[in-house]
């Protein structure tokens, strides 16, 4: 990794201020000045900053992400994600170019990454409704299928040295997360029971993104510009990435089944064309239902984090109350299958 041109791992004191940033960027890009340092949305696990770095010749628009202090590191770190981005880029997945990444020193070490700032929109409701994204919407199902096929095709040997979980039994993995919450929800038990009884043959384990959906994709006016948020990338059944974006929460109020944009048939046709791998409607539906259960359990977990005082975020508290939406969707979807 450290030998890649333009890619410099850095050590530093645990101060991520504008001065520190200017100093580091001087080493990497020959930057003379940093300006417009603006804090962007705060994810749960990291801070995101946007800024301009000036060199003699040109101005670079960059994004810096830093691990948030005191958070569980279950979802990986910025430094780890930058290594994944680099591999994804080499394999033709549309992602931002990594400029630098590294760790702060001392106890409570935080990692960071600096990437190019790419153009586009991530807010799903705008992408799904505003007329300026009409052309993008027409291309998106195909673009997403193509990006997923590229992600799933990456040979796993390329990730040597990066800690990635290999989920061979997705139901047991999810069930142990649910059981650890110790907050019984009979509808979730019902869904586990149905999923166990109807589990399709697991496809060969590949690299998967794990959170592929609008909100984590940068969309420009012609379609998909970059795949972001690789925090929970892992190895597993590739069809989970397709099913996840069909979960109702990721349709953002639209009635179109796939990412709020298209149909099962469109997604399957594009994915088969791009990947050469067959996907059945039944398998896709199983993974959509699995995804709904997974999001329901994440909502339950977030509500629990708020109650246990791990966060005082109103947004996370409110997500706790979205458990019932997923329970309802699970009962509807499984109910339809029972009545067939």
């Amino acid at each position: 990794m450290e030998n890649q041109p333009g890619f410099l791992a850095m050590n530093n004191n645990a101060v991520f201020g504008a001065n520190w940033l200017a100093l580091r960027l001087k080493e990497i890009l020959g930057t003379t000045e940093v300006s417009n340092l603006i804090r962007l949305s705060g994810g749960a696990n990291r801070e995101t900053w946007s800024f301009e770095a000036h060199t003699k010749e040109k101005q670079h628009s960059l994004i810096m992400q830093i691990d948030r202090d005191g958070m569980d590191r279950l979802n990986g770190t910025c430094e780890r994600e930058s290594r994944i981005l680099h591999i994804a880029k080499l394999n033709g997945v549309p992602v931002p170019t990594v400029i630098a990444s590294g760790f702060s020193e001392g106890s409570g070490s935080r990692s960071f990454s600096i990437t190019e700032k790419m153009q586009g929109e991530t807010i799903a409701r705008k992408i799904l409704r505003d007329s300026q994204w009409k052309n993008a919407r027409e291309n998106l199902i195909h673009d997403m299928a193509k990006a997923l096929a590229a992600i799933h095709r990456i040979d796993r040997s390329q990730f040597e040295g990066i800690e990635l979980s290999d989920v061979r039994d997705p139901l047991s993995s999810l069930e142990s997360i649910y059981e650890a919450l110790n907050d019984p929800h009979p509808t979730f038990d019902f869904a586990f029971r149905w999923l166990q009884a109807n589990q399709p043959k697991i496809s060969e384990s590949t690299f998967v993104h794990g959170d592929f959906r609008l909100g984590n994709l940068l969309i420009d006016t012609s379609g998909l510009n970059a795949v972001l948020d690789w925090e929970i990338a892992q190895f597993g059944d590739p069809i989970q990435d397709l099913g996840w974006m069909c979960v109702r929460a990721w349709r953002f109020g639209s009635d179109q089944r796939v990412a709020g944009i298209g149909s099962y048939d469109q997604l399957i046709e594009s994915y088969v064309q791009e990947s050469g791998q067959d996907v059945s409607t039944a398998t896709l539906l199983w993974w959509e239902i699995f995804g709904t259960l997974r999001w329901g359990i994440i909502c339950l977990q977030m509500g629990g984090d708020f109650r246990k005082g791990r966060t005082n975020s109103l947004e996370i508290a409110a997500i706790g109350r979205r458990v019932a939406e997923n329970e309802y969707d699970l009962l509807q979807a499984i109910g339809e299958k029972l009545n067939e």
Partner: protein, 127 residues
């Protein structure tokens, strides 16, 4: 001059004695309306987004206070119906396969419970 106080006439009877009006629900309602009608229109970006979440959370709180008692009774009736003591017990019985031969019935009962929860959490989610 009559000494009967007529200022409350026409209003719903008060239920929160010994406290004064407005009641908890009425106060939450007032805050929600203040956020939605007065503060939100002049805000934008992440502030507006947070205010929308806040107003929505208050609406959930009102629906929960109003629905609470009757929903609790209905839940108990459904649980008794399917021979479960409480939600924890129902969970354990589903896991043990106790309802595998009555899976459609179980789905209907769970849907009744979840429908009550969703009516409070997000009634807009019903298709």
């Amino acid at each position: 001059m009559s000494n009967v106080d007529m200022s409350d006439w026409g209003l719903p009877s008060r239920t929160n004695y010994p406290y004064d009006a407005p009641s908890a629900t009425e106060l939450i309602q007032a805050v929600e309306e203040c956020i939605t009608e007065e503060i939100m229109p002049s805000s934008d970006g992440s502030t507006k987004w947070k205010l929308r979440i806040a107003a929505n959370a208050l609406k959930i709180a009102i629906r929960e206070i109003e629905g609470g008692n009757s929903h609790r009774d209905t839940l108990q009736t459904i649980l008794t119906d399917i021979e479960a003591i409480d939600m924890h017990d129902l969970s354990e019985k589903i896991k043990a396969g106790d309802y595998d031969d009555r899976f459609e019935m179980l789905q209907e009962k769970l849907l009744s419970i979840v429908t009550m929860k969703l009516a409070v959490a997000n009634p807009e989610h019903f298709q």
